[in-house]
Symmetry: C2
Subunit: 218 residues, 2 copies
């Protein structure tokens, strides 16, 4: 339909901290017609810098990068260069990740284990003003949202203060030491601990610590 857009040779920028991957990807992209690679960035900031210098039609980016991560990069790009289409290429099928990518309005999401065919399809779809979200991933996302509705979030929300205290507990401070550190009474710390135990449904210190580990509060 919008063949003109493709025919005038789309400009593509790749951002990935794994140089071998981005170079390989570049080699693949170059095999597609009417597409030209205008740069490789190995982190978010570099990508933004390159975007400033020249017009880009399509950004291919990883999520995990040192410094600014992919999500943040997408946000920034969408803010400053809204015309740039963005295809996120990630290792993970984590639904939360996909949701995050969704939320920042990237046009596409595919996995690193996608086939070349799927990759090409995604690119052409995006350049055609469409979107492409890997179906493998979308399925997981759906299943998750369904599950969430069923079990109606037994999600635990520790308050900032509570999280802070849990972190200190994890650092082997006693309640008394935590109190000193935070300039509050030991009683207060006790109360927080009580509430934390309740909220996390744990009945012992050991259970609490296991909770912290499983929720990456370390």
């Amino acid at each position: 339909m919008t063949a003109e857009e493709i025919s005038k040779s789309a400009k593509v920028l790749i951002a990935d901290d794994h140089k071998l991957f981005s170079e390989g990807l570049a080699a693949l992209v170059q095999q597609i017609e009417n597409i030209e690679i205008i740069g490789l960035a190995s982190n978010g900031q570099e990508a933004l810098d390159l975007l400033q210098l020249q017009s880009v039609d399509l950004l291919l980016t990883d999520i995990h990068m040192p410094g600014m991560n992919g999500i943040e990069l997408v946000k920034q790009v969408k803010m400053h260069f809204p015309e740039v289409k963005i295809l996120v290429i990630s290792m993970y099928q984590d639904p939360d990740m996909v949701e995050a990518v969704f939320d920042v309005n990237a046009e596409g999401y595919i996995l690193k284990d996608a086939s070349r065919e799927e990759f090409v399809k995604a690119i052409t779809r995006l350049l055609d003003n469409g979107t492409y979200y890997s179906s493998a991933v979308m399925e997981k996302l759906l299943r998750k949202s369904i599950q969430q509705k069923r079990s109606s979030q037994p999600i635990v929300n520790l308050s900032p203060r509570e999280t802070e205290i849990l972190r200190l507990i994890m650092q082997e401070y006693s309640s008394e030491e935590i109190a000193e550190k935070l300039f509050i009474s030991k009683r207060t710390v006790d109360t927080h601990r009580k509430n934390i135990l309740q909220k996390t449904h744990s009945s012992t210190l050991v259970g609490l610590i296991k909770y912290a580990y499983q929720n990456n509060i370390i």
Copy 2:
């Protein structure tokens, strides 16, 4: 020196579960002269199957793959096809990982964020009967081994009984419950706990649990 070997077109096999990566890598490799890609495998078993079917000079493999991991694959390949050179391409600079790769006698180890130049260098080095271990990684390995010598293994050896009790602690049993469960006195459990704390150099329950987590005693 052994130019004949390179000139007769080396056969390369790539194993990586991220298809986009292996396809990209293939595209890169094909830009090198006298090298031909004879197959892409997306897991260890597939790689072994392909090796059975045709002669291969060089195997490029990831470490993290579903099913058989890269280390295991290298082992198998070295066992059944000892003439195949192996270049491990990994995301991680983890010294333990490099050590493992070393131990199974892979000829090379580079990171996914290596440059194309380094990649090409590694390949030619291997095809020339040499080895190539990314210097970035080797440095870390060295530093680690030095550190290890300095602190000369403060390795902890919990007795079977102690490990058993630690496991029960991790399952949120109190000392009294553990005593009942093991038909011993609570005092005995106390003593064991005391010794466990000593041996693991932890001074609090939290520290102990962290130790258990870090040593997979769960």
